[in-house]
């Protein structure tokens, strides 16, 4: 069974708060968390900047409950994009473990699903999704191994946000049938975090099946992480092809013996 992961914890400059969130996450049983850096992409300003080094946060990372291993902390970048032309891959991407995109318009959503080199596509939680999820881009994203993310912190804070989150999630499930979905917190406070099994149960409300809901906090998160890792590591592919066999051998294999016999008889 894959370990649990929460791929979105709001990054703040408040080091103490971040520490307490990560401690809570470890206590709840998450093996991996990612600190989110939200950047609104503007056409002129293209500065993203480096994330803070995660090893500065703790001398000793807290131990994950039930695993006796320290928690893994990663950096994640979320780009809020309102126009396709604003999204440009920059050198700063390599400082982050995961790249996510929050599309504001249908055009950007289409581009994010089909062509952009990202790992996660965020689904709106604080407003009604301004566009409809169409089948071709969603299936394109699933084919490419890009994941859709629903964050639940807003749903805990406010009942109107809860309605938006659930309705957006359900409308996504209508199209993607529960495939390639991850559920993460987006928590700003330790009390906004919930345990992984709670989230697996919450997934049922979002229209996921039991198995998909559990995968949304475990296996799918791992797959998204590995997808992010390949951006840094996989630089080329070597393909080997078997050479064609010598002529005399090929003749023997032309037809199976039983068929040959039949032909002779005719």
């Amino acid at each position: 069974m894959a370990a649990f992961a929460d791929l979105c914890i709001s990054g703040t400059n408040d080091k103490k708060r971040l520490q307490s969130i990560i401690e809570t996450a470890a206590h709840l049983g998450y093996s991996t968390v990612a600190i989110n850096h939200l950047v609104e992409v503007q056409p002129k300003k293209q500065e993203i900047g480096k994330p803070k080094c995660v090893s500065e946060l703790f001398d000793h990372f807290p131990i994950v409950q039930g695993r006796s291993r320290p928690i893994r902390v990663l950096n994640r970048l979320t780009l809020v994009v309102s126009d396709t032309s604003h999204f440009r891959q920059t050198a700063d991407f390599k400082f982050y473990d995961i790249i996510a995109i929050y599309p504001k318009t249908e055009k950007v959503f289409h581009a994010a699903c089909m062509s952009c080199d990202v790992d996660i596509i965020c689904i709106a939680a604080t407003e009604k999704q301004p566009f409809h999820f169409k089948r071709p881009p969603v299936f394109g994203a699933i084919e490419r191994g890009v994941f859709f993310e629903i964050s639940y912190a807003a749903a805990i804070k406010d009942s109107t946000m809860r309605r938006y989150t659930i309705s957006n999630a359900i409308s996504l499930m209508e199209t993607c049938k529960g495939k390639n979905v991850i559920v993460s917190s987006g928590a700003e406070k330790p009390l906004e975090l919930r345990g992984p099994y709670d989230i697996a149960n919450l997934g049922l409300l979002f229209g996921l099946s039991e198995g998909d809901a559990k995968a949304a906090v475990s296996a799918n998160c791992r797959a998204a992480l590995l997808h992010g890792e390949t951006r840094k590591t996989a630089l080329g592919i070597i393909r080997t092809v078997k050479k064609s066999q010598p002529a005399d051998e090929r003749e023997d294999k032309e037809a199976p013996p039983s068929k040959k016999a039949k032909l002779d008889a005719m």
């Binding site: 805990i156 804070k157 009390l191 906004e192 099994y197 149960n201 919450l202 409300l205």
Partner: protein, 122 residues
């Protein structure tokens, strides 16, 4: 549980399928408040859960039976008993509870048990 029998050095295992015939699930939960040292009693706790259920599911959706079997005021832990059909509803309502009377709080689900695993006492 029956013992796995050891036959000629190799251990054979038995698969036990337990159908939850009693129809109940037991949940051990603990309540966490942002401000520490808050004192509440069992009746208040049940009221809190009922209001959480009503917030998420409305009057009709929230009208299913569940019991607070035990409540420890010192540690704010409780044992709840709910019919299998209400488990998902109760659990998700507890998950989505974020505040009560303008105070930030959270419910941590410690354990979810089937009847034969429940031996009393939180």
């Amino acid at each position: 549980m029956s013992d796995p029998g050891a036959v000629g050095g190799s251990v054979t295992y038995q698969r036990l399928v337990h159908k939850n015939s009693s129809g109940f699930h037991y949940m051990k939960v603990s309540l966490v408040f942002e401000k520490e040292g808050k004192r509440i009693d069992g009746a208040f706790f049940k009221q809190l859960i009922i209001s959480a259920l009503r917030n998420v599911y409305g009057e009709i959706g929230a009208a299913f039976p569940f019991d607070v079997l035990k409540f420890e005021e010192k540690s704010l832990t409780a044992v709840l008993r709910v019919y299998n059909s209400g488990l998902v509803k109760l659990w998700s309502a507890l998950t989505l509870l974020g505040s009560y009377q303008n105070e930030t709080c959270a419910v941590r689900v410690v354990q979810v048990l089937l009847p034969y695993q429940y031996t009393g006492g939180p």
